[in-house]
């Protein structure tokens, strides 16, 4: 049983929810950038939330299945077709051997996920099937997928019967942010600009981080920082004054001042922003961050028990 990548598009990788125990050894988390989309897709097809699936960037892309399985396309606002028939994203769908799934380029969003019942049968490395492109391991030979690649599928326990779909989560480009440890080191004009500006995602962005363009943020006090641990969501400000928001493939340590941190519940929104798109940072309280994360987890729990 396998799935063949007919057309990988600009960047397609195998991802699950990433590695979470090796950052003290310099090993990045990696994993799906839109964790919510992959988790929902997996639950829809009867997998564990953290099963490995396919992450596509923009598109178009297409894959062929050589066995009967159940799939869910999530994350995207794209038009998906199964052998020429429209397939509803955020729904699970039975697939027959030989059928081809085509993903058109998304309208506004950046990444699509394909979850497959039984999941991809790849070896876990350091606890995860996620592709670490920088270090070259995990996923399929530690690299991005190419046209013609074939990925083995595991046999699912049972194929889910009835059709089930979900209302996709509301996406917007206002990201809730908690002030970072060096927030106060920036002058009041810089802080105001940080919260007011429309930040543009520049082409120098990748799975490690989004480099943003906007007003230059000048840090007024504090010396050079010693290298310290960083996480996805951390907003660093290098000497250029143009912030970098870290994503899943980010290095484990950094040395730039951190003006803010995107809350966990909004990291998926960040992942769906395209190069050239603009975003805003919205101040948020710790209580709001907790409440947002709690309600996201509750929805996943409800979905798991409902299916």
């Amino acid at each position: 049983m396998s799935v063949e990548i007919l057309r990988a598009g600009p960047l397609a990788t195998v991802q699950d929810l990433g590695r979470s125990a090796w950052r003290d050894r310099g090993i990045s988390r990696c994993g799906a950038l839109d964790e919510l989309a992959l988790s929902w897709g997996n639950l829809l097809v009867g997998n564990a939330m953290d099963a490995a699936g396919l992450e596509f960037t923009l598109g178009p892309a297409s894959v062929r299945f050589d066995a009967e399985c159940c799939i869910a396309v999530t994350g995207t606002d794209t038009d998906a077709m199964l052998d020429g028939q429209p397939l509803r994203p955020w729904w699970r769908q039975r697939v027959q051997p030989g059928q081809t799934l085509k993903l058109a380029a998304p309208r506004e969003r950046m990444r699509s996920y394909v979850a497959i019942s039984g999941s991809l049968a790849l070896a876990r490395e350091l606890g995860s099937c996620s592709t670490d492109l920088k270090a070259g391991f995990g996923g399929l030979d530690g690299r991005a997928l190419r046209d013609g690649d074939r990925l083995p599928l595991a046999t699912p326990a049972a194929l889910p019967a009835r059709a089930v779909g979900l209302r996709p989560p509301e996406w917007d480009t206002a990201l809730r942010v908690l002030p970072g440890p060096e927030h106060e080191d920036f002058g009041s004009a810089a802080r105001e600009a940080f919260w007011r500006a429309d930040w543009k995602v520049t082409p120098q962005s990748n799975r490690m981080g989004y480099r943003l363009a906007g007003p230059a943020l000048r840090r007024e006090r504090g010396g050079e920082l010693a290298s310290h641990g960083v996480l996805p969501g951390v907003i660093q400000v290098p000497p250029s004054g143009q912030p970098i928001v870290l994503l899943a493939d980010a290095q484990t340590t950094g040395g730039y001042p951190k003006i803010g941190v995107v809350v966990r519940a909004d990291l998926w929104k960040l992942a769906q922003l395209r190069l050239g798109a603009t975003l805003r940072f919205v101040p948020c309280t710790l209580e709001e961050a907790h409440a947002a994360l709690r309600s996201q987890r509750q929805r996943l729990d409800q979905l798991r028990s409902a299916l």
Binding site: S20, A21, W22, R23, D24, R25, G26, I27, S28, E125, L126, K134, A135, G136, F137, G138, L178, G180, P181, A226, S227, H228, G229, V230, L231, G233, V234, Q251, T252, T253, K258, V261, V262, V263, R264, L286, A289, H290, L293, R294, R297
Partner: protein, 215 residues
């Protein structure tokens, strides 16, 4: 006793910093803090940095205030004198194609290339923390007479296993990467292997010695 400063890094991490300057005894206390917090409920990861520790936790399972209290309680205890970790010998082929900047380093430091090799191999280094790349060790202990600024033009690709000097630091690149350090040699040892247990050759606290070798 010096003050410990603790800052939230988002809702799911705390950044705990010791006052400058960096010293080995302080860094040992960082490792002790990490070890002491490893089993605490809700704690997911402990990432030592240079003179600091980042603690990642599940905010729906525990509270930042509770963890900060645990940190401060551990910090208030008298430091244990702790032996350093195991000694790891790194065989290095110095100079030539493996260390294309050895002669530049020698010129900068006003000594012969052989003397650079001798001094680089004479010191015992200590792994302060791992970061930047899987298994990339930040080493303390470079002889000040070998401090050399980074290259004006960083290389587009530094081969895996390269041993370099960058400012007051020396280290080994586990993976091929762009880099600006002065390359003095190269080792055949794998610094990172995702299939090995543990996956990195070096861990915080390990002692390192470079040994000139022909293989």
């Amino acid at each position: 006793m010096s003050e410990l400063s603790v800052h939230p890094l988002g809702e799911a991490a705390l950044c705990c910093t010791l006052p400058a300057p960096v010293s080995l005894p302080q860094q040992q206390r960082i490792w002790q803090l990490a070890a002491g917090l490893a089993g605490v409920d809700g704690v997911q990861e402990l990432i030592p940095g240079m003179n600091n520790l980042t603690l990642v936790f599940d905010p729906l399972r525990t509270e930042a205030a509770k963890l900060e209290h645990a940190l401060r309680t551990l910090w208030a205890r008298p430091p244990r004198s702790r032996a350093l970790g195991r000694l790891v010998e790194i065989p290095v082929r110095y100079g030539g194609a493996d260390g294309p900047d050895l002669d530049d380093v020698a010129t900068h430091c006003g000594m012969t290339a052989d003397e650079v090799v001798r001094r680089h191999g004479a010191a015992e280094y200590c792994v302060y923390f791992i970061g930047f790349q899987p298994g990339f060790a930040y080493l303390g202990g470079l002889d000040p007479s070998l401090h050399t600024p980074r290259r004006a033009e960083p290389r587009v690709a530094v081969p895996a296993g390269s041993v370099g000097i960058g400012g007051a630091q020396t280290g080994i690149y586990p993976l091929a990467t762009p880099g600006g350090w002065q390359l003095v040699g190269r080792t055949s040892l794998a610094l990172f292997d995702p299939r090995a247990e543990p996956p990195t050759l070096l861990a915080p606290g390990d002692r390192v010695r470079f040994v000139a070798s022909t293989t």
